[in-house]
């Protein structure tokens, strides 16, 4: 079997490559070049920097596997960055890393496997692929604290059939220990948290360059419409955000909703953030069959799954939930098994 390992330059994908090689497969490593600045420069922060690519290349060399950098900047710009900007423009909370996983890392690479002469795609995600009675299933990773099944919840059974997630069986500690044992230079490398194309958390200068309308000043109001203050642009606000509102109020205030068309930010009290029902779009299921009824729904990468009922394009949580924002992904679970995923279109 010939395996293509998507190597980000992190410890997980490094160990994934090593494990596939140990298992006796033909392995090639690839890094995706997804973004470059105005002058073509590689990002300096996030998950796809030049030094990450260099780490990936060095690990591939140490494992003696061929290594390539593939340019997917066009696909990324269209499939991820423009969606990110569009989400902001609509007052939604963008989720570029999920979008990137879905439209670039998995869609493109899985569709390209045959062309690239490979049988399976391997990544360093902490999640597990298993075969079940209805085809391939996706399960939470062995390390609950590092589980990444949420970001893969849009994958379908046929896609999972061509995917291998070898580190999903390990804890992060085991992965690091393994990397150290193999002498991989990424063994102790810190995880990246930033969005690669924004870099250093600098939303404003990014939006300034790519979506200047997001920086249109507007009012900060409460639910009665009373103007409490002003802001310098809706870009950068997220539902549930508490800091940086520039409002002096007796009790804590939170962003409750964002209306990008009128550049209005609505703030309120903590209880105003509670949401019981959300409207979904883009529902996809692992099995490909319709999904409804009782599920456990997770709407944050590191949140817990909450009991809920799914039906008619709506999701009702048993208990009201805090800071559920349009644009976020919801993953549906039955215990550790992923049933599918969707995007929150609206809250109500």
């Amino acid at each position: 079997m010939r395996a293509m390992v998507a190597m980000s330059g992190g410890v997980d994908s490094s160990v994934a490559a090593a494990l596939m090689r140990e298992a006796g497969h033909d392995v090639i490593g690839v890094t995706l070049k997804l973004w470059s600045g105005p002058g073509g420069e590689a990002p300096t922060a996030g998950c796809c920097t030049l030094s990450d690519a260099e780490d990936a290349r060095r690990v591939a060399a140490a494992l003696d596997i061929p290594y390539y950098v593939l340019d997917y900047t066009e696909e990324f710009r269209e499939g991820v960055v423009s969606v990110f900007i569009d989400d902001y423009a609509h007052g939604r909370t963008p989720n570029p890393c999920i979008e990137c996983n879905r439209t670039v890392k998995f869609d493109r690479l899985l569709n390209g496997l045959d062309e690239l002469g490979c049988d399976v795609l391997v990544t360093g995600h902490h999640a597990r692929v298993r075969s079940g009675p209805d085809g391939w299933e996706l399960h939470r990773g062995a390390d609950m604290a590092k589980d990444q099944s949420y970001v893969l919840s849009m994958l379908t059974s046929p896609q999972l059939g061509r995917t291998r997630l070898p580190v999903g069986e390990m804890t992060k500690t085991e992965v690091r220990a393994r990397a150290a044992e193999l002498g991989l230079r990424t063994a102790a490398k810190a995880e990246s948290m930033e969005i690669c194309f924004v870099g250093r958390g600098d939303y404003r200068s990014f939006l300034d360059r790519h979506a200047p309308s997001m920086l249109r000043p507007g009012p900060v109001i409460d639910h009665t419409g009373e103007v409490l203050g002003a802001h310098g642009g809706v870009g950068g606000f997220t539902v549930g955000q508490r800091r940086g509102l520039g409002i002096a109020a007796g009790e804590p205030r939170y962003v409750v909703s964002i209306d990008a068309t009128t550049a209005t930010v609505v703030i309120g009290r903590r209880e105003d953030l509670l949401v019981r029902t959300v409207e979904l779009e883009g529902l996809s299921t692992v099995s490909g069959r319709p999904l409804s009824g009782r599920v456990e729904a997770q709407y944050r990468a590191h949140g817990a799954a909450m009991p809920a009922t799914l039906g008619g394009g709506l999701l009702h949580f048993d208990e009201p939930q805090m800071a559920v924002a349009p644009g976020q992904t919801v993953a549906f679970y039955e215990s550790d098994r992923v049933l599918g995923g969707a995007v929150i279109a609206a809250t109500g």
Binding site: K33, G40, L50, A53, L70
Partner: protein, 384 residues
């Protein structure tokens, strides 16, 4: 055929770099170890190094029809190009540069840099075949133009520019304008007589014709005033400071001598292999276009557009099948990038992403090329 571990590679990327000619490394080795002297000293050890350096200078000069003092040793083609463009204009912001849109980055980026510093610069477009009209170049000059730089052989397409014609057109308008040519890709195949070319400056790079990497030459016609790019101890008559890389100069001169000697064989033998490769691709793959194929072209470059096949996919598969080729243009990470050369020739970014470059060299055999082209045809069949 290049063997590394147990992998056998058919190497068809000689324009990126080519292996050293036999004997070159051996000629260099003594200057790294026994004859290690600094060529600027006053003792025996130093004199030995100096002798070798000056002898190398004479050999290079002879290959170019130049005088030894007109040869400046540099750290490669990039530095030679930088010196040729920056040297004549540094210190006077009214002076500038005219060059072609298909030049190597060493020339183009230097031109852009000079532009940012406020020097007048102009980049002349090319035809769909990559050809440049000498009168268009000459007509693009302004009152401040001090240097006109046109490359001899394009590194991506192999398109040959009639440098003598450009020089004549330029000098007709203003004989004081300096003409530079980046001849880095030309040394293996073109005769490089500086008087016949009518140039005031000419760049060479050792590793493109069987010499070492990190060694280059700028021919600077006597009487040409240059501000150095590297200031320091005043070596190279003040035109390029820094302790001499004697081994590099010896290697470059040795290889250049061999390349000149081998030139007519190279033109016919390597050219024949390339032509055969090209013919077979044209027969075996539908819709292939040879970029720059209509005009004069070097014998060892072949830049193909294969519609509906993305170059990065094809290059990966070729590598997996043991054939080394390139996209002509790559960024530091190794990812293919859209070629400015092909864009200048009117290709869209999507079309440029369908282009691959095969370049043949002094080691290439007919068998290698036959196997390479068969692999290429098979892969394209599979990818389509």
């Amino acid at each position: 055929m290049i063997c590394d571990n147990d992998r056998v590679m058919i190497y068809l990327d000689h324009a990126a770099t080519t292996p050293m000619r036999p004997g070159v490394w051996e000629a260099m080795a003594p200057f790294a170890v026994d004859r290690f002297g600094n060529s600027s000293g006053a003792h025996e050890v130093s004199r030995k190094a100096k002798d070798a350096l000056e002898e190398s200078r004479e050999r290079v000069a002879a290959c170019l029809g130049a005088r030894p003092m007109e040869i400046v040793f540099t750290s490669g083609g990039t530095e030679a190009d930088n010196l040729a463009l920056k040297g004549p204009v540094t210190g006077d912001r009214s002076l500038g540069v005219v060059t072609m849109a298909t030049e190597h980055e060493a020339v183009l980026e230097t031109t852009h840099f000079l532009h940012r510093l406020g020097h007048p610069t102009h980049v002349v477009g090319v035809s769909r075949d990559g050809g440049v009209d000498p009168d268009l170049v000459a007509g693009s000059m302004g009152p401040g133009t001090a240097v006109v730089s046109v490359m001899t052989v394009n590194n991506e397409t192999g398109v040959v520019t009639d440098v003598a014609a450009v020089s004549a057109a330029v000098k007709r308008i203003d004989p004081s304008v300096l003409v530079h040519t980046d001849a880095v890709q030309a040394a293996a195949c073109e005769s490089l007589d500086v008087d016949r070319l009518g140039v005031d400056m000419l760049s060479l790079s050792g590793h493109k014709f069987g010499g070492p990497k990190g060694a280059g030459v700028l021919f600077v016609r006597e009487g040409t005033r240059l501000e150095p790019v590297l200031h320091g101890g005043g070596q190279e008559l003040g035109r390029r400071s820094g302790t001499h890389d004697v081994a590099g100069a010896v290697g470059l001169a040795t290889a250049l001598g061999m390349a000149v000697e081998d030139r007519s064989r190279f033109r016919s033998a390597v050219g024949g292999i390339r032509d055969d490769f090209e013919k077979r691709v044209m027969e075996g793959v539908e819709g292939v276009v040879v970029n720059g194929g209509a005009g004069p072209r070097s014998p060892h470059h072949l830049n193909l557009r294969i519609p509906d096949v993305r170059n990065q996919t094809l290059l990966l598969r070729l590598d997996q099948s043991g054939v080394a080729a390139s996209a002509g243009s790559a960024c530091q990470s190794g990812a293919a990038k859209v070629s400015h050369v092909l864009e200048a020739m009117g290709l869209s970014p999507d079309e440029a992403r369908e282009c691959v470059r095969f370049t043949f060299g002094w080691t290439t055999t007919q068998d290698e090329a036959s196997e390479g082209v068969a692999t290429l045809i098979d892969l394209v069949g599979e990818l389509r």
